[in-house]
């Protein structure tokens, strides 16, 4: 199928959905479709095979920033409501049922990932000039999608969103040639599995203290180091690797899986197992100067990238924490002890109320950081605080979720033990999904 055909087929499915009709959202759906097709026409004319750069693009294509607003408002736009409803269906109908199996197998099933592809997330992330359907950059929409998918399963969400995070990074900071080289591949059938590789084996998880080295060489750089907890270890063809160049300057490098010296081993962890976490070894990997993201100006945006990824983690945490809340409400209301539902007791009911309060806090902190990012306002403080908060509260909600089910929470018959393992990641992970 041609690129434009694919775009249309995705959008037709979205636009024809019963839900959209019910919600009176046909018009925004048509709006999106027409935008996507305008992008699709450009794509149709371009040959997009391998990592050959599209010709003719001299300036990087960026997404625009939405208009500033001067009103406190928590209501999602019609487009966001539509995307959220589609994502919610994927989360409930496909992620949730597949989650346990995917966790055991340390792999995201292809048919589940195909359902994610139907959401067209990468299409909306890529500007029209590059063949996508993207128009405005919206970290808020990104956070909404991450939260909604993570209600189904956090590991599968990470698998699904990891490439979108790489796309967002390339769109925001990539050079024209980097965009032209890699972005079209994300629009192909099956997308381009890709991941950020920022985490390293040492404790304290400080993304600003990087041990992987990039030594300048004649035609580029030589990379040496080790990255852990890298998503999509099984399949990723492209990695964005952080490395220290001269002193403490941190740069990001586009590293292809097939480059000599790159080796990747599965390295399962406590949770997020569906995302096929792995360990990436860089043994004197030679990369050209063109591999340097944003032509060596990462100093200017590395912190922002970390912040955007933290917003992503907070959003994922919010979705999974909501799953915990929904589950314990139903379970505990149905669980009887000493002759009445255990939720008739304050010790149980108050724990559940606290989950709701901390969860809503997490959501609002995340939304504020995302919305400031979207408006082009500084959001480093907000992302930092959201992360500090989520690190503590996500773990607490995870452990209380198991506690509320007692022994039943500890066995795999119920999903709370998986959420416990997944929510623990929020306090330590960097990278992942850049909104």
């Amino acid at each position: 199928m041609s690129a434009i055909g694919r775009t249309l087929s995705v959008l037709t499915r979205v636009a024809g959905s019963e839900f959209i009709g019910r919600m009176g959202l046909r018009r925004p759906a048509q709006e999106l479709a027409s935008r996507a097709v305008r992008g699709g026409v450009a794509l149709g004319e371009a040959a997009t095979r391998g990592f050959q750069a599209l010709s003719g693009l001299t300036e990087p294509a960026r997404l625009s920033t939405p208009k500033a607003r001067d009103r406190f408002d928590l209501i999602a736009t019609d487009e966001q409501v539509m995307i959220r409803s589609s994502a919610a269906r994927v989360a409930s109908d496909h992620f949730r049922p597949a989650a346990m199996g995917a966790s055991e197998a340390c792999s995201a099933p292809a048919e589940v990932m195909a359902k994610v592809e139907e959401l067209g997330l990468t299409h909306y992330a890529i500007p029209e000039a590059l063949g996508g359907a993207g128009n405005e950059s919206s970290p808020v929409t990104g956070a909404i999608v991450a939260e909604t998918l993570a209600h189904g399963d956090m590991g599968l969400s990470l698998a699904a969103l990891s490439p979108v995070g790489v796309v967002n990074t390339l769109v925001r900071w990539g050079s024209a040639s980097q965009q032209a080289t890699y972005l079209p591949a994300f629009l192909e059938q099956g997308g381009l599995p890709a991941a950020l590789a920022l985490m390293e084996p040492q404790p304290l998880a400080d993304p600003f203290s990087v041990r992987t080295r990039a030594t300048p060489a004649r035609s580029g750089f030589v990379l040496r180091g080790k990255k852990t907890l890298v998503p999509l270890a099984e399949t990723a063809k492209l990695f964005l690797v952080s490395a220290r160049v001269e002193g403490n300057r941190i740069e990001l490098f586009l590293v292809e899986r097939d480059a000599p010296g790159v080796s990747i081993q599965p390295a399962p962890a406590m949770g997020l197992r569906a995302a096929s976490l792995g360990c990436l070894e860089l043994a004197d990997v030679q990369v050209g100067a063109s591999a340097l993201l944003g032509e060596g100006r990462a100093g200017a945006f590395y912190e922002e990238l970390i912040d955007r990824a933290r917003v992503g983690w907070c959003a994922l945490a919010t979705g999974t924490a909501q799953a915990v809340l929904d589950y314990v409400v139903e379970y505990c209301n149905g669980r009887t002890a000493f002759g009445e539902p255990i939720t008739n007791r304050q010790a149980v009911a108050f724990m559940i109320a606290d989950i709701a309060i901390e969860l809503e806090s997490m959501r609002l902190l995340t939304q504020r950081a995302a919305s400031r990012a979207e408006q082009g306002l500084s959001f480093h403080r907000e992302a930092y605080l959201a992360r500090v908060f989520a690190a503590e509260r996500a773990t607490q909600i995870g452990t209380n979720g198991v506690q509320l089910l007692g022994g039943h929470g500890y066995v795999k018959e119920h999903p709370v033990e998986r959420w416990y393992r997944d929510l623990t990641a929020v306090g330590l992970m960097e990278g992942g999904f850049v909104v």
């Binding site: 009103r71 406190f72 304290l204 108050f350 109320a353 901390e358 806090s361 609002l364 500090v388 690190a391």
Partner: protein, 406 residues
């Protein structure tokens, strides 16, 4: 309009006015009236005049809680999102309590009774009680959190209600022009029969028995009042006199839905004051919380500052959300309780932690930190304790009645 959690400029300007009051009127006299408990802060008369002017200028009260206008249409697309008087009240109160909680509670004509009047009074009553300083009297010696259990009675006798009973913890009970007294029309009919009555000062049978000495908010008078065959005109019953089970206790609850975010805002203000001062004091010791260090590599005191700031920001956003919902006529009972629960406990925890972190400066009376730690405690108690808020939240989440989840 897309999602946005920033304060609109016009409300920011309004909050700045409140902040000026807090900084230039409250702070300089804060310690004075903490020491001189029960002495009326005469500086506030001047302030009340200024605030009436500000209020007319800005179109909303600093403490007055407004009723969102219903827009009378259901088409979501055409709905205009409002940032109105509830949000303004939250922002204004946060700033005032950054200055001094006790003084903020005793600003003339800004009492909790005024909030009750704003929430449930008829148009005629709104007009009649305009400009009156109204205190609020619910709690009784034997009925605290279980306000449905109050024993104060009101019996219709001709054109008057005859009220009998005793009320405690009446904020501004001595200073206010009137007191909104909650009494039951018929004890056997339960909460449905509980109604608010405006009792004007000087009404025969209304007596201030004593003023309490307190842990904090000493600038605010807390009175015990007694009503003995106190006759009030029947048109002073606020809202609907019918004893209908459906509407029932809704009057009290409606008042609290609107005032809980305001009390949450008070907590935000005092906690922010403590946190800001602690940051200043710790900066002298080389502790800079500038978000530049990895959380796990920060010194313990710096990490503590981040944690407190994150908690405070969480409480602030919950409070803004509850107020925003009220401004847009969205039912917000759960959200108002979530905000009050979170802000109450976070505000208290922050002020106490700041005392600890600042050690001598925190615990001694040369700074206001120890005072703020005393003041903040009441905010996790009045207008519904932490535990009552959790009950409200839990009942809503779990779909439980008060008989099931006690």
């Amino acid at each position: 309009m897309p999602i946005n959690l920033e304060i609109p400029k016009k409300l920011e300007a309004f909050a700045q006015q409140a902040h000026d009051v807090a900084e230039h009127v409250f702070r300089p006299i804060s310690r004075k009236y903490d020491r001189a408990e029960h002495q009326y802060a005469v500086e506030l008369d001047m302030l009340a005049k200024v605030m009436d002017g500000m209020r007319e200028g800005a179109g909303h009260g600093v403490n007055g809680v407004g009723r969102a206008k219903h827009h009378g249409q259901t088409n979501g697309a055409a709905r205009e999102v409002r940032n109105g008087s509830n949000m303004a009240a939250v922002l204004g109160m946060t700033e005032l309590c950054w200055g001094d909680v006790g003084l903020a509670l005793t600003i003339p004509r800004q009492g909790l009774g005024n909030a009750a009047i704003a929430a449930v009074a008829s148009e005629e009553q709104l007009e009649r009680f305009k400009g009156r300083w109204a205190a609020m009297a619910i709690t009784e010696p034997e009925a605290g959190s279980d306000s449905a259990n109050i024993k104060t009675t009101a019996q219709l006798d001709g054109d008057h209600y005859v009220i009998n009973g005793e009320k405690i913890f009446v904020t501004c009970g001595e200073r206010a022009d009137a007191i909104v007294v909650w009494a039951t029309l018929d004890k056997s009919k339960g909460r449905a029969a509980i109604k608010p009555f405006v009792v004007e000062k000087g009404t025969p049978g209304l007596e201030v028995v004593r003023l309490d000495k307190k842990l904090g908010i000493r600038a605010s008078d807390t009175a015990t009042i007694r009503l003995s065959d106190c006759r009030v005109p029947r048109e002073n019953l606020l809202g609907n006199p019918d004893i209908s089970v459906e509407r029932g206790f809704a009057g009290v609850m409606k008042t609290f839905d609107n005032t809980r975010p305001i009390v949450a805002a008070m907590s935000l203000g005092v906690a922010r004051a403590a946190l800001e001062r602690t940051r200043e004091l710790l900066a002298h010791e080389g502790i800079l919380a500038d978000y530049n260090r990895s959380f796990y590599r920060a010194p313990a005191a710096e990490a503590e500052l981040y944690r407190m700031e994150a908690e405070l920001e969480a409480a602030r956003l919950l409070t803004l959300k509850a107020a925003w919902m009220a401004d847009n006529a969205l039912p917000n009972s759960k959200e108002a309780s979530m905000a009050k629960a979170k802000a109450g406990r976070v505000g208290n925890a922050i002020t106490l932690r700041c005392v600890e972190l600042c050690a001598g400066a925190g615990y001694g009376e040369t700074e206001l930190l120890e005072k703020w730690a005393r003041d903040s405690k009441i905010l996790d108690i009045f207008e519904g304790t932490q535990q009552i808020q959790l009950l409200i939240v839990a009942r809503r989440l779990l779909g439980k009645s008060s008989d099931q989840l006690k």
